[in-house]
Structures are given as structure tokens and as C-alpha cells.
């Protein structure tokens, strides 16, 4: 089973990298960009086909390592 974990900064946390990217996009003349926040994507392959146990394992992975929940949140998506 394939899953995608998306880790992003909590909305209250400043993201200077996102701001710098936002500025660069503006200076490139990309129209309509209002704001940019940077995050991370992890593509994970899991053994078996049990969605519930996969969700449990990925939550465990996020809480233990993939996200620092002081400043980040995460969500999990499954490929259909």
C-alpha cells in the first residue's frame, strides 16, 4: 500500500523559508501569489492492505519521528 505523509508548519509558526520563496516568486513575476508556506512530503510504502493498521503505523511514525509536533502538523493520504 502506498501512502503520502504531508508535514507542514502550524499556522501560528513563522516560516521564513516560505516567505523567501514567496518573495522570489514575486520577483519572477509569477502572478497572483498571495503567500507560500513550505512543508515536507514523505512517500511511504507499507506491507499489507489493511488501511486501519497502516493509518496507525503512520500516525506512530509521525509522532515518533516525521513531525515535531511542537511546531508541525501532519496528514496522511492513501493512493487509490
Amino acid at each position: 500500500m502506498k501512502a503520502r505523509v504531508i508535514v507542514t508548519l502550524k499556522s501560528a509558526v513563522l516560516d521564513p523559508q516560505g516567505k523567501a520563496i514567496e518573495g522570489a516568486l514575486r520577483s519572477l513575476g509569477v502572478a497572483g501569489v498571495q503567500s507560500v508556506r513550505q512543508g515536507k512530503v514523505f512517500d511511504v510504502e507499507l506491507a499489507g492492505n489493511d488501511r486501519a493498521s497502516a493509518e496507525g503505523a503512520l500516525k506512530d511514525a509521525c509522532d515518533k519521528l516525521l513531525a515535531n509536533t511542537v511546531i508541525e502538523t501532519y496528514k496522511v493520504e492513501f493512493a487509490e
Binding site: 521564513p16 515518533k64 511542537v70 511546531i71
Partner: protein, 232 residues
């Protein structure tokens, strides 16, 4: 005094820490590989040195914080044992949950490598007895992710409990909030654990110990530790 300096893949300041402990505290530190499960018998001080453990992959200190030896470090800290994390070591302590909060990218996105002025917030801990409260000391920093942050409740608690160890200061002793090296909240450069036995700090006291090289304001920290552990 029996210090153990933990070596992770990508640590690069471990020999500086060893040298400071030898020259200033007269100790014979052991370097301990991260894959070990136990600290050498009788270890009374653990030092997590600076560097770029695991190449800063994922987040600074995140992978090192989950190394085998960290369980032993956690147990040592829980027993009241002294732990000092410098730079990447501070990041590791935060990621391991031994200290609250997190060190994020410097506000101006630049790696800063220069001398800073630190204000010693209290001089009654095992790490700072050789200083006086409000002393201004010159110590170098070298980091890209030293911007200390935590939720409001944590900051309030740290401030209320006097757990700020050092702040970035100006010459007049005021907190350097706008011109600080990294944008850390309240100018925080280092913090203590609840029982004041764990200290994490971004600046490198181990690099200012020899007059041949420059200022020696870092000696006080190692003198304090030597004093604290001799008395114990």
C-alpha cells in the same frame, strides 16, 4: 569528574568539548559512540557536542535524538545527572524531549558564525557558579538553526521558573531581541531543565578557553562543572 562525550555520525565538535574538559576541568572524558546502549560506569556528566548529526536530515538533531545511547542519557538525566548540549547538542536535547521547545531556522535565513555577547541569567547552577549573575561573556556561535521557539505557555513557564540560562545581549546588558544572531524569542541562547541538571545552549563555550586563541570567557562553564562534580 567522569564526563562522557557522545559521538554521532556528523558530530564535529566532540574533540573541542574533550579538550575543554581536559584543559579547564582536568577531566579525562570518554568519547561514546551513539550506537552504545550504556554510558561508561560512573559517568557524572554527559556532553552532546556540536556538529551536524546525520547531516541535519529531516530536522536538526531529530535522528540523533532517537539513537540507542539517548535512552541511557534520558535515564542519567532522570536520576539528576548533569547533561550539557551545545549547538547541535541543544537541538538534540529538544528533539529528544529532554528540554522543551525547538530550534528553527535563523530568522534571517543565514548561517551565523561570529562572536556574541551572552548575559548570564543566574550563577547558582552546576553550570554557572564560576560566573556572576548578569555577567556579560563573549562566546562564539556557529549555526543555521538556532532560533529558539516554543508555545506561549512554555515560554511563560520557562521565564517564571528562571530556566533561561543565557540570553543574547547588547553591550549595555539589554536583551538583543532585534539584532540577535538568530531571532530567538526573548533572546534565549540557552535553557535549563526543570531540575537545572540539563543545559542546552547554542553558543560554543568550549571554543573560548585558551588565551592563545582569543577570549577565555568559556572557561567559567567548565570550571563550574568541575567544582560541582568535585563537591558531589
Amino acid at each position: 569528574m567522569k564526563p562522557a562525550v557522545i559521538l554521532f555520525p556528523g558530530s564535529n565538535r566532540e574533540q573541542d568539548a574533550v579538550r575543554a574538559l581536559r584543559l579547564v576541568a582536568g577531566a579525562k572524558p570518554q568519547v561514546v559512540w551513539h550506537a552504545e546502549h550504556e554510558l561508561p560506569p560512573g559517568t557524572d556528566l554527559v556532553v552532546l557536542p556540536g556538529g551536524f548529526s546525520y547531516g541535519d536530515y529531516l530536522r536538526c538533531g531529530a535522528i540523533a535524538a532517537r539513537a540507542n545511547i539517548m535512552e541511557a542519557v534520558r535515564a542519567h538525566a532522570a536520576r539528576g545527572g548533569l547533561v550539557l548540549g551545545i549547538c547541535n547538542g541543544f537541538q538534540i536535547l529538544c528533539e529528544a524531549g529532554l528540554l522543551p521547545g525547538v530550534l528553527v531556522r535563523n530568522a534571517r535565513l543565514r548561517f551565523v558564525c561570529r562572536e556574541v555577547l551572552l548575559r548570564v541569567e543566574r550563577a547558582d547552577t552546576a553550570f554557572t557558579k564560576a560566573y556572576r549573575k548578569s555577567d556579560l561573556i563573549r562566546i562564539p556561535v556557529a549555526h543555521g538553526e538556532g532560533n529558539y521557539t516554543a508555545d506561549e505557555g512554555t515560554i511563560t513557564r520557562l521565564e517564571h521558573d528562571g530556566r533561561i540560562a543565557f540570553r543574547y545581549a547588547r553591550r549595555d546588558g539589554q536583551i538583543d531581541q532585534t539584532d540577535g544572531p538568530n531571532g530567538a524569542i526573548n533572546g534565549i541562547a540557552g535553557i535549563y531543565s526543570e531540575k537545572f541538571n540539563v543545559l542546552g545552549m547554542m553558543p560554543h563555550p568550549e571554543n573560548y578557553i585558551e588565551p592563545e586563541i582569543g577570549p577565555t570567557d568559556g572557561r567559567g562553564l567548565f570550571e563550574s562543572l568541575a567544582g560541582a562534580l568535585k563537591a558531589a
